[in-house]
Each structure stands twice: as structure tokens, then as C-alpha cells.
Symmetry: C2
Subunit: 470 residues, 2 copies
């Protein structure tokens, strides 16, 4: 390899790994020449090779810059009224079988929806549990719904710290966010009702709809701004919708954070039509920006927002403790909790409450967020590097998943099957729609440490996509 090729490869690698971000200026030819001890002409040849490959671009009087990469900026068109149909939902079998297969693979779990549990302070929380179990005996009686008062206080305190004043009597502790979402949906809608969701939709929402025999109406959703409030308004003028289910912050799979102005518009629209919204906020603590995002609940003055969250994505998945802030539906959700699982176990509630009160939750989160922010860039860069031209990727603002639109209309289930032969898993787009949309998309998990294996798996995936698209 010649000197200029070697320099070009090195720069390309840095772009691919996200060290150099799009739009960032490269060192000037003169600087590069000095620092690298290379001739001006060698640097110039390297930069022009990179330019011809589309990695960088020269801007007159400014220098060389990393080129913008293709992303999911396309705003889905609002379907014509005749096309706005709700669908029966039957995705859970696909999701469960996919998750099982993903689990059985030893390889890099790119297809997993769950965060790497390794950074969780599990041992610390377990020590608290152990101390509590020794101190006294707990009966099912002790923490009947709404839940353990100590934990409820800690949850309210945390919401308060993030600017959401919460009435503790509105909090109901649940078995993960899954139960919270189920109870909230059951509280506000009946079997046969239509529920508006984002598109693509996190399948946990579709599961709740499926469980209750309701219908899903998939509303156009912008990959940067979230659910199309204008389109939703149009729908509400034409048909009855029992509830809206959204993930305003770091949506799974798109990773967007709705701008506050859009959140306010959505909450106002719901108030106009007196329609409840269920928001799933399990990734709120995993923001990449400067501050914790605001949930829809922040602007809810009518008690119409049912806020669902959990500790399973940010603190520990050993116990699956979640909660709902159920607004004006709190009494109904509390009763449904009692009917559904009687009570959430006391010991895990107390152990988490003790940890929240005494230990370094924020320190733990800072570290996790730092890693995710970095790996989000690395994952996007690697996909754009290894996958065929025309591949588009999302720009996650938080959480730990990347959404990838495959070039050439490659079917994600075919990729999923081929990838399994190589011990690699991906989350096929089929899981994110009840009506068969997003079949050319995949979701990738970047919560695990970035290794040579990760990079090799992405290279293999890129090859498989290219072969399928050929």
C-alpha cells in the first residue's frame, strides 16, 4: 500500500468508527503534512482519493470536510384518508420466537432489545435485598397496590428532580413497564377499540393491543420529530380512537426525541378530543444530550397522560420493577394491578428504594450514557461503511438501538435467517408493524462493548445485504 493510500485508509477508518463526525473539518493539507511527516502532494492525493470515494468533500476557501452520510430524514407521507385503516394485531408469536432465537445465539446480540446487563449495579442492589430479608419478614399484605411507600417516594423524588411534580398517590408499582402499559391500556379502552400508535411502533405497544383484542392504527411518524401530530389530528376528525400510545423520548426503534413544541401540540390535541395517551418512557434516563428529556406528562393538565416506566433498562433487570403514573385513571389502574398480579414483590421494591436513596444511581447513569453516546456513532458509522450504498440509518438521541433501512428493498426476515447461519442476530423490521410495514428495516443493539467481533459481525451483515440485494 502506498503512503497516500495508507493515509486515506486511516482517515476513512476514523470516519467509519465515528472518531471524525460528519461535517467535521479535516486537518488542513499543510497541518497533515507537518504532523505526519508526509509531503504536501501525498496528503493531497490521499484527500482526493477520499473525495472520489465520497468520504469527504472539499469546500472552496474552507478546506476538506467529512461528508454528510445518508440518514433517515425522509418524512413519511401522510396516507390518504382511505388508507387509514386499523389492523388486528398478531405480532407476539413472531417477536417471542425471534427473541428466543436471539437468546440461543452465543454471538454479538445485535438483535436483542435489552441492554447489556454488565454495567448494572446488580450485586449492590442484591446486598440491600439481603440486608432487608434478614431484618424482617414481608407478607404479600405489606405492599398491596399501589406498592411499597418507600419506593413510591423515591420514584416521585426522582421525577421531581427532573422537573416533573408528581402526586405520589398517582404512582402504581408494576412488574416492569410491560405490566404498566397493559394495565393502562385496559383502563382506557375496550376490546375492539382502535388505538393510534407510531409507525414503526415498538412492539410492546402492539402486544398490549393484541392482548386486549384491540386494533392498531399506525400513524405516520417522523424519524426526527416523532408522531405526525397534524396527521393524527386529521385522523381524529374522521374516526374514533380510544387511545394514543407513543414513546416520545428515544423511541424504540427510531431513537428520536420529540421536540418539546411537538409534545405540547400532541398533549393539546389529546385534550381537545379528550383522548388518553399512554407514553412509554423506559429510556428517559439514557439521554445523550445535556439534560433529561421531558415526558408528555409534563404538559398534562387534564390527567389524560398515563406515563409508564421501569428500572429494567437503566438500573437492574433482575427484578423487573416498573411503574405507572396513571393520571385520572389511577384508581382503575390500581384495581387492574390487583387483579392482574395481586401485588409487586416487596423485597425487590425495597432493595431498589434503598439503592436509590443511598447509592450512586446518577454516577452509574453518567457512565452508561457516555458509552451509549459513543457507540451510537460507532454503530452508525460501521453500518454506513460496511452496508451497500443507499443504506439509511437513524440518529438516536438516547437509548441503545439503531434503525437501519436496507438498500435495494432487501427483506429483513431473509437477512435475519441468513445472519443466523453466521451466529449473528438482528431485529427484523417485521416486528414493528401490525400491517406488514418496515419489512426492509432492521434494529441493531449497541449497548454491548464494541469489539473486533462487533465490527466483524457488521461487515458480514453488510456482505449478506449486498448478496440479497444483488
Amino acid at each position: 500500500m502506498k503512503l497516500y493510500e495508507s493515509l486515506a485508509a486511516e482517515v476513512e477508518g476514523q470516519v467509519a468508527r465515528g472518531v471524525l463526525l460528519e461535517g467535521e473539518k479535516l486537518p488542513s493539507v499543510r497541518q497533515a503534512s507537518q504532523h505526519r511527516k508526509l509531503s504536501i502532494s501525498t496528503v493531497l492525493r490521499a484527500y482526493s482519493l477520499l473525495e472520489s470515494k465520497g468520504v469527504i468533500e472539499s469546500r472552496p476557501q474552507s478546506g476538506y470536510f467529512v461528508r454528510a452520510r445518508p440518514r433517515l430524514a425522509r418524512r413519511p407521507a401522510t396516507p390518504a384518508p382511505a388508507l387509514i385503516l386499523s389492523s388486528e394485531v398478531d405480532v407476539s408469536r413472531l417477536v417471542l420466537s425471534t427473541l428466543r432465537t436471539i437468546r440461543s445465539q452465543g454471538a454479538v446480540p445485535l438483535g436483542s432489545p435489552y441492554p447489556d446487563p454488565a454495567p448494572f449495579p446488580a450485586a449492590r442492589i442484591s446486598q440491600y435485598a439481603n440486608a432487608i430479608a434478614r431484618r424482617r419478614h414481608w407478607s404479600v399484605m405489606d405492599d398491596l397496590p399501589p406498592g411499597n411507600p418507600h419506593l413510591i417516594r423515591q420514584i416521585a423524588r426522582r421525577h421531581m428532580e427532573h422537573g416533573l411534580a408528581v402526586d405520589p398517590s398517582e404512582i402504581i408499582v408494576t412488574v416492569g413497564a410491560t405490566e404498566a402499559i397493559n394495565l393502562c391500556l385496559q383502563a382506557v379502552a375496550r376490546p375492539g377499540d382502535t388505538v393510534a400508535v407510531e409507525s414503526p411502533t415498538f412492539y410492546a405497544m402492539l402486544h398490549a393491543i393484541e392482548r386486549m383484542g384491540m386494533r392498531a392504527l399506525e400513524v405516520p411518524t417522523d424519524p426526527r420529530d416523532g408522531i405526525d401530530v397534524a396527521a393524527l389530528r386529521g385522523i381524529l376528525t374522521r374516526q374514533r380512537v380510544a387511545a394514543v400510545m407513543v414513546m416520545p423520548n428515544f423511541q424504540n426503534p427510531l431513537g428520536f426525541c420529540m421536540p418539546d413544541v411537538r409534545k405540547r401540540e400532541l398533549v393539546a390535541l389529546l385534550a381537545d378530543y379528550d383522548i388518553p395517551a399512554i407514553e412509554n418512557c423506559v429510556y428517559d434516563e439514557l439521554y445523550y444530550g445535556d439534560s433529561h428529556p421531558s415526558p408528555l406528562k409534563t404538559w398534562d393538565t387534564h390527567g389524560l397522560v398515563l406515563h409508564c416506566s421501569s428500572f429494567s433498562k437503566s438500573l437492574t433487570s433482575n427484578y423487573r420493577i416498573g411503574w405507572a403514573l396513571a393520571g385520572r385513571y389511577a384508581a382503575q389502574v390500581e384495581k387492574l394491578k390487583f387483579l392482574n398480579t395481586l401485588s409487586t414483590p416487596s423485597l425487590p421494591q425495597l432493595a431498589i428504594a434503598d439503592y436509590l436513596q443511598n447509592d450512586g444511581y446518577d454516577r452509574h447513569l453518567r457512565q452508561v450514557r457516555k458509552g451509549y453516546t459513543q457507540r451510537a456513532r460507532m454503530m452508525a458509522a460501521a453500518v454506513l461503511r460496511f452496508f451497500p450504498a443507499g443504506t439509511r440509518v437513524s440518529e438516536p438521541q438516547g437509548g441503545y438501538v439503531l434503525w437501519v433501512e436496507l438498500a435495494g428493498g432487501v427483506d429483513a426476515m431473509r437477512l435475519y435467517t441468513r445472519a443466523l447461519d453466521h451466529g449473528i442476530t438482528v431485529g427484523p423490521g417485521h416486528m414493528f408493524s401490525a400491517r406488514g410495514s418496515w419489512v426492509n428495516c432492521i434494529r441493531l443493539n449497541y449497548s454491548y462493548p464494541w469489539t473486533a467481533e462487533t465490527e466483524e459481525a457488521l461487515r458480514t451483515l453488510g456482505r449478506l445485504v449486498a448478496a440479497l440485494g444483488a
Copy 2:
């Protein structure tokens, strides 16, 4: 107090406390005279006083015996066809508010449905959990439904030891028996369907029916033999029943254990009509007899019995781990589990599995059973001693609750309210029917250590019943 009165009071006390059982022979007059250093005539006067009070009876050529006490042997009449109506169910608000009130009372929790957690080996199990948490990290992914394989193996092994050969692939781990019952019912019946239950019914069954918007049909139930299979057959010939829900062993609240011949009849009847049965077997480990009772599942050759159980009543309620053996509905129940709470937390499953494999579950159970057996007698005796004449009590064969039919048609909710003023709680019969039956009955918990306070509480209850009946 004269000598003969003192002897009579002592014997009466022993009968009341269950030291002397009904039908047991008293020491002969001669023996009593020798052992007590009392004259023959003093003993004779004491015995005849007891005879006049109805405590003992003399049998010619045999001696004196403790008299049989009034019990719930009455077999409820089969209602005429026109009366067999199913009811909408709405008991959960009453039950939840009652349980909450019971919790808030510091006194003897006679009204609690839950066992005293003090004998549970909670600290031991927590140590296992702690060791596991230290050893490795667990993801939600690891124990997707049906559940943790190690725990499933232990559950299957235990069933096998009790004579029930179980296919481990039929076992689904749940959040307590409550979730198991809910999932099983949802798997076999639709909203609006009619479900046959015992009468009185354990309200957990009614809750599952209420949650799904189904209807309950309360079938006559013998306090000794369980659900009236002939009456049920009559009902099935006349109307469609989607499922039957029973507690064949140590039913809450009656405490009976269905004779095996009745269980076989019931299972055969269900097979004739191809109707699934959900059996709640949470008290099976708490038998007073020589051996573990057989669940209906033992005779189920058609996969129609959905067996639900949990560790919360016999081992630990700290984690609320239950399971379902869902027969031919296993795949459906597994899917519903995934939809309802996603997965049961791994750490508690593993900790319980480790305990079952390594520790003294049977030793723990022997001790608990011994205490319950003894206190069942003491509780029945105390109620018959302190409550007005005409009071009837159940004869629990296992578990830890006594069912009491109040004399004089006293309303249990009125007693409940009055008793609260004295810091005493009872389980009002109103919770055990969707159609307002059993309003003159209460359920009493005897799992807690027997103290002077217990006896005093029962004495107070007796006074209150007498006052309400006057």
C-alpha cells in the same frame, strides 16, 4: 370456686383449646379421682356439670366422651334450574379495600388471607440470590417464557416426588398463582363467557373472571367433599360453561380436600363435555394428613386440567413465583405470559431453584404443617367456645383458614366494622360470592402463633357476634 367447678372449668378449657378432641374419652371417674386426689363424688359432680353444659356426654358401659361440636356438615341444596344464574363479577374493590384495612391494623391478623411469613426461610433464599447476583449478570432475555430451566426442572421434580409425572415443557413460570390463574382463564374462555366456580369461591377466582369481563356461575359445594359433581353435570346438560375453576385441595375458605373418587368423577365429567378446568393448588404442601393430596391433574388424560400453584404460601412470598401446568393450552398460556408481564425475573427464580435443590424445604414444611394442624384445632375450639350457640365451623384438612358460619344470621360486614373498632380483623363472607351469598360467614386465619392476644380477640369477636345477633 368449688373443687368440682374448678375441675369442670379445667376440662372445658382443654376441650376449648383442642387438647381434648371431640369423641375422645375422658379419664374414668376412678382415674380422675386418683390422679387429681379428689373424691369420686367431686369428679362425678364435675362431669355431670359438663354434661349439662353440653361439653361431654356419657355413654352407657363406656364412660364419658367429648361431645361432637356443631360443624359445617350441611350439604347445600342444589338450586332448581331456574335459579342457576351466572352473575357479573365485581368483588375486587371490596376485597382490596378490606385487605388494605386489615393491613393497617396492628392487631392479630385474623382477617388476612396470607400466611405468617415468619417461618419462611427468607434469609436463606436471599443468600442464594445474593450469590447468584455476584456470579453473573442476567438479562430479561435469559428467562423469557416459559421461564428459567433450572427452576422448571425443580418444579417438575417436586411434582414427580408427589406422584404427578409432569412434562417440563408444560410448565410456565408466572408472577404468583394470581398471574397463572389469569393467563389460564384467558387461554380457555372469552369475555362474556360463563365460568363455573365453587360456592363459596376463593375470590382470586372471581377476580380473574372479573378482569376478563366473564360471568360466574356458583355451583353448590359440600363443605367436606367439594364441588357437587352431580349438580355440575345437571348444569352442563342445560347450558354452556366455558370453564370450571376449583380448589380441590384445602379450598379457601372451606378447607376441604375433595376425596379422590370425587376428583376422578369431576375430571371424567369435564372430559365428557370437553370443558377445561383450572385448579388452584397453592395450599397442596400444607396438608394435615399423612400424605400430599393429589391434584385433579393426576387423572387428566385429555390435557384439560390447567394446574396453578405458587411458592408464596409454602416457601417465600418475597418474590411471588408461581407456575401453571397448562396441558393442551400450554402454548397459548406461554404467549399470554409473554404479553402480560414479558418474563418472570430471573434472580428470584434461580434463588428458589437453588434452595429447592440444596436446602431443607421438606423439613421446613413439616414444621409449618405441624403448627397449622395444631392451631386448626385450637381455632375451631376457641370459636365454638366464645361464639354464641349455633355457630358452625369448618373442618380444614390443610391450609390455615377456618370458615365460620355465624349464628342468628349476623351480617359479617357489620361484624367486620365493629371488630375494626377493637383493632381486630376478620374476612367477611361477602368476598366469596359474586351474587351476595355467605354474608353470615367469616374466614379466620390461624397461621400466626397462638397467643393470649389471639384468644382475647376471639373472645371479643364472640361478644360482638352475640350483641349483633341479639
